[in-house]
Point group: C2
Chain length 215, copies 2
């Protein structure tokens, strides 16, 4: 944990906002003098000073030698997110659990790009590759990639990866709490729902999206 974000001064927030706006407007990063002018700073050195701070704190990255080489730390993550692919999901094995540093370690796992629209704001998401045809009742095929959100609570009707303790099996189903038991409803309506006791289920994550590549 080296690059922990610390609090920033109002001036630094100003500058950060200005960089964001400038990027939106122009499509390329501002020069130091743009920042100075835009934030009402009369000296470039002040901007440099704060840019250093912002870089230390991990809010921006800078490319030396290159003009306007400023990148927002979360720049490329605006349109698409990088989601760690941390393992496979198959019928007979519990899903891999993301560790605390799954998202912080840049290199640890494969990162796959996912359009932000699919994520709908979900955070702490990770990806699993589907192995086997055991989830066709969930309309999920061998080779699909499921985007999961590590969630503790699952609303009624949301699709979740559920570990059935007795059966020692993982399934992806819509979860409905009904009195003392839980109804697990497949996405494919031609498949029957199953009713299990609350003690038998262990929600391992929420399904956010599914990607399938046919080519």
């Amino acid at each position: 944990m080296s690059t922990r974000k610390t609090e920033i001064s109002s001036r630094q927030l100003d500058i950060l906002k200005f960089i964001q706006c400038y990027l939106d407007e122009h499509g390329y990063p501002p020069a130091i003098r743009d920042i100075s002018a835009g934030c009402g700073i009369s000296s470039t050195s002040v901007a440099v000073f704060h840019l250093k701070k912002l870089e230390e704190k991990g809010y921006i990255r800078r490319r030396p030698d290159i003009s306007r080489g400023i990148e927002l730390a979360s720049a490329s993550d605006r349109e698409e997110a990088s989601v760690p692919l941390i393992g496979i999901i198959a019928a007979g094995t519990p899903v891999p659990v993301p560790s605390a540093d799954t998202w912080s370690e840049a290199d640890s796992a494969d990162l796959i790009k996912v359009p932000r629209v699919l994520l709908a704001g979900a955070e702490n998401v990770y990806a699993l590759k589907v192995r086997g045809d055991s989830m066709q009742d969930a309309l999920i095929s061998d080779g699909d990639i499921v985007i999961m959100e590590s969630a503790v609570v699952v609303e009624n009707g949301e699709t979740a990866a559920v570990w059935l303790k007795n059966e020692k099996e993982i399934t992806l189903k819509k979860v409905f709490r009904e009195g003392g038991h839980i109804r697990l409803q497949p996405a494919n309506k031609h498949y029957p729902a199953i009713i299990v006791s609350a003690g038998n289920v262990e929600v391992q994550g929420k399904v956010v999206a599914v990607l399938r590549n046919l080519l």
Copy 2:
């Protein structure tokens, strides 16, 4: 049709390739002097000369006032592609056919972002929203988005949108040519394949990928 691409000289092709490589390697465009050095040109004015040509011919765009303000005409499409969402796909209706200007008109339709990796190099792709549960045999759900490639030929085993003339029905199935007839195999192995005569099928496009958003 104002910016028609014309032929370019080998030098200009050199420069174009160099710009592409440089972008791949560095993530930002080259300076004029980078181009000169990289292409074995001993004068910046020569590079300028050819850059003007390349811009006239529509291969690149240049941003005046900004250093390294060179963009490949197809620059932003590197990591993710913008795919036009041109309609819905349902059992009883043929799929909308993309017109020639589907990809050229910027505003015409909704554009959805799709990671390039999913496309696997496919071109002339468009997106359709799935309506109804008629395609659960293809492991496709109501609300899914299917990415299609307008292809004339479909290899054996590839998944395609097939219009069954007699049944007046669209299905997504793997296509296998077998002698005089065609076998259409659902992705879900619990569903049976159907055998149809070649005259009854009309391939309307190749399925490239499927996106599903559960949230």
